[in-house]
Symmetry: C2
Subunit: 568 residues, 2 copies
């Protein structure tokens, strides 16, 4: 492709609207343009990247026996009403009516559609297992679409659905997809981790997220350097931390004026935060709850929500704390608390002679001994894992990192086959529910994540496998016919050899061309200079390492460029 013809309008300025680096660079490098909030046009460079990611996804899905199809984006309401999700989805679902006033949505996902489809045609165990997938636009009316392609309202997903005869089959399908996802992200050239995940609102249990590691990631993950363990911090399991033996002393009230935070009270009393009990009041749709964790720990709201079996969880308003608990924020504690459910983390129950709020302004209890001084209604793992916590598998200290969720695999079991009556006849002619799984990859998000992970101040650093082009040839002088002839010859030969190459034939200064090359992020930048003409040396700069290689301009030069590319 000739740069003079390539529709890749680059921008010099950082667009004010773009908060994250992938969004900034995609706008600046001429990859995307905004149509309206959360809705973008993919320009030719971005579309090339997306086609490469899609092709990798396709090959890996097909290798596991996946079959590609395409379901409608516009879905009739009826099937969503059958599963009850028409109401559950709320404002996140784009809805519309046709001219006959019938209700439709723009598919945020396709469990209803695929289950309805498969139940029509699959009758016998002989037709199972089935792995069916599609790659298409999905729709979600985010309250605050932001971060460019990271959280859009129209975005590209690969979604695969598995149908099996039994749980053993589901396990096999799930493992296949887990392996396929590992291959997809590896082949895309990304650093990632598969982490144990909470299965969230979509239902079912048993799930992994595939996290592309990036500092800007919205999700926090914990992983073990000693073993394979990795999990979303929302999910990471924790055992109780035991403490050195100590003799329980009697419960005592202390004046602790103005010490509302753990930091303040531990400093005032001269004890370490590990000796304090952090008490947080939450309001659910059912009741008021006190959650207890050790002072140096944080409450994991997802775990707490799961323990309580509730739908919503919010920090309790001050008014509720005052009127129902007869206490004040900053001095809440479990001792003597009534009319409230108490949930304590395992580690809290191990504490001896701790400190907690006394439910009176400016007072704390010291020498608090759980079980003796208060009895929680629930004792469970409700805290967030943190750097240095013991790995739940091997006990070594875990590390934490941030990641971008680019894929997720889910066991759905019979959640949808039950509500939509997707059954088959087994070997004995008995009707059985199909066991399902669903497996998503955010294709457009993966492109954004690749940039979040791979960039520098000058622009994007594409992994070679998903780069829009592999190389750019920059002739220093477009008016020098020797340079141009050489550049044109190389351009032809490189493309011929399958190295997707752009020739920058624009009438711009070399500096502008170099800047654009770095911004767009071609893995290799090939400069044709006076030196190339006079000394027969081709300058090839590797975008990622910044290293410059000089290649002899002879019959083997194309093969050498290919070697460089493969080595990236």
């Amino acid at each position: 492709m000739r740069a003079s013809q390539l529709y890749a309008p680059t921008l010099r300025e950082v667009p004010a609207e773009a908060e994250v680096v992938s969004h900034q660079l995609m706008l600046r490098a001429g990859l995307i343009r905004k149509a309206t909030g959360g809705i973008y046009t993919y320009l030719p460079l971005a579309w090339r990247v997306l086609k490469k990611i899609k092709q990798i996804v396709r090959e890996e899905m097909d290798a596991k026996g996946g079959q590609e199809l395409a379901m409608p984006i516009m879905q009739p309401a009826e099937m969503w009403q059958e599963t009850g999700r028409w109401d559950v989805y709320g404002e996140e679902m784009f809805r519309l009516k046709d001219r006959h006033d019938r209700n439709f949505c723009l598919g945020p996902t396709h469990e209803e559609m695929i289950t309805t489809l498969v139940r029509m045609d699959v009758r016998s165990y002989r037709q199972l297992p089935l792995l069916l997938y599609q790659i298409q636009n999905k729709y979600r009316d985010e309250i605050r679409p932001r971060f460019g392609l990271m959280r859009g309202r129209e975005f590209i997903m690969k979604d695969l659905y598995s149908f099996d005869r039994d749980e053993a089959g589901l396990d096999i399908s799930y493992r296949k997809m887990y392996d396929a996802y590992t291959n997809v992200f590896s082949r895309c050239g990304l650093k990632f981790r598969a982490v144990e995940a909470d299965s969230g609102a979509i239902g079912g249990s048993g799930s992994h997220e595939f996290m592309v590691i990036a500092e800007s990631g919205e999700a926090a993950i914990a992983y073990c350097a000693a073993c394979e363990y990795a999990a979303n911090v929302e999910k990471a399991e924790l055992k109780a931390i035991t403490v050195p033996a100590e003799t329980p002393l009697p419960l005592t009230v202390k004046d602790t004026p103005g010490t509302k935070s753990i930091k303040e009270v531990s400093s005032y009393l001269g004890v370490s935060p590990e000796k304090t009990i952090k008490t947080l009041a939450f309001q659910t749709e059912k009741e008021l709850v006190l959650a207890l964790v050790r002072g140096d720990h944080e409450v994991n709201e997802i775990k707490l929500l799961n323990q309580l079996g509730c739908l919503h969880l919010d920090i309790a308003p001050e008014q509720a704390i005052v009127s129902q608990l007869h206490t004040v924020p900053g001095f809440i504690g479990p001792v003597g608390a009534t009319g409230v459910k108490i949930v304590a983390d395992h580690t809290v129950m191990q504490m001896v002679n701790g400190v907690c709020g006394a439910n009176k302004p400016d007072q704390h209890y010291i020498q608090v001994n759980p079980d003796r001084d208060f009895q929680p209604d629930i004792i469970a793992d409700i805290r967030l894992i943190q750097e240095g916590d013991p790995c739940p598998h091997c006990g070594a200290a875990v590390k934490t990192a941030r990641g971008i969720e680019a894929g997720q695999v889910f066991k759905l079991f019979t959640k949808y086959s039950k509500s939509l009556e997707a059954t088959f006849l087994d070997e004995n002619g008995k009707e059985q529910l199909m066991l399902m799984g669903c497996y998503g990859i955010g294709v457009s998000r993966t492109m954004a994540a690749a940039i979040e992970q791979n960039h520098d101040d000058d622009g994007i650093i594409w992994p070679a496998a998903i780069a829009p082009f592999h190389a750019v040839i920059v002739p220093i002088s477009g008016k020098d016919s020797e340079q141009m002839d050489l550049a044109e010859r190389l351009y032809g030969e490189l493309n011929q050899a399958g190295i997707e190459t752009v020739i920058d034939d624009r009438s711009e200064r070399p500096g502008v061309k170099f800047k654009d090359a770095d911004l767009i992020g071609y893995p290799l930048k090939i400069t044709v200079s006076p030196k190339t003409v006079s000394e027969g040396l081709l300058e090839v700069k590797i975008r990622r390492s910044g290293e410059t290689v000089f290649l002899q301009l002879n019959a083997g030069v194309i093969a050498k460029v290919k070697e460089l590319l493969v080595s990236l």
Copy 2:
């Protein structure tokens, strides 16, 4: 692919809902399933066909310098309001609101979007020409979606938009696309014709339709066997037909009781229909109109509408004929008619001593001579071309056929660049409007059209280039290990050689497998029988011709199969 795993649920019965053969066969062969009226899932076989058509389209667009991108399906209303089409589109446009109550539509086409996009980034003549395209779902809320994929509400289109500096550039882009379309439909293996078309409601002028020839086609086309001329009958131009000289005789009234039709009056009077003037009364939004064509001709309402410059045209209600023209249907005529606009076809004006209604019940004029006896307000080409009419280019007799519109190319000129202010600076630094063209291919419709054109009573007959698979291997007995070993070996070798092959390894009777093979329409059916094992002869049946070829089962057999495939 193994038939036992392929998700292609075939049906024995012809589904009652399907009116046309492509719809019936796509349901029966397991290519599509209906989600709701006009909205379908493409199952794996159909998706393979569509991917092949898309790939051919891509290659041909790219060969002409087209660049692929992807614009949003969900489009904000504002740009449609700028061009005024938000109101014009009416109920055919699917509309929705987001959670902030802002208006969107599901794109029926993308002129507004692409023009808005290009005006953002293109400033100089040096950035032109541009050919930008995408392949994606389009949406149209048809009153009566029907005929399966022929007239759906969600369908797949390729739409390309050209941007040029001037009309000469537009001519070049238009010609490139005309050639690309010719290549696309040729490579898809379809019989088609490019015909001159009316440019319709989308606006602009200068347009060709690409018609896939099929008896079931909705459109009628006229073409010349002697020269290249072909046109949609709506558009086909006609000159006046001259008649032998004759002496004008005086206008005379005749009683013609009960002769309301041309057939009745010409038979009653003993004259041929060519001697009669057919007078039809139409009502437009502005006025009442009499349209005159020769008795053996038909009025072309599109031409009439264009001549009148009106928006709507309907046959006038009987009441209007009686109250305003003071006559009765069946006996209307132009002689003495007042308070009505008269439009006469050129050929009517050539007639001598003709016959027309006398505006009184059961009476006609004979010896009518146009111009002497009545003066039309407009004389123009307002009739439909018919078989045998002279070709407007060479004069030879034209033929007519029916076709399915699968593609259309359009010159838009400045229609959208003007309303959306898409300008550039020319060589002299002067601001100019971009010249645009738009070019569509109905991708899913092309698949349906291929089936309408290529099928028999047993099923689909795919052109090899777009067949979901090239061949199917049917082992007569799945229990015969020699047959199965041989079949498996061939299956591996054929796929290895790039011949996309299905092995029918299902535990079904051979008859069922043969029927499915014909229904799905694999170009080649390879039977592995006892004869193959004992005599070393492979039976290959060609789906299109029905011909059976026996190939020696030796090292060259794969090459022979490939030759057969290429010859199709």
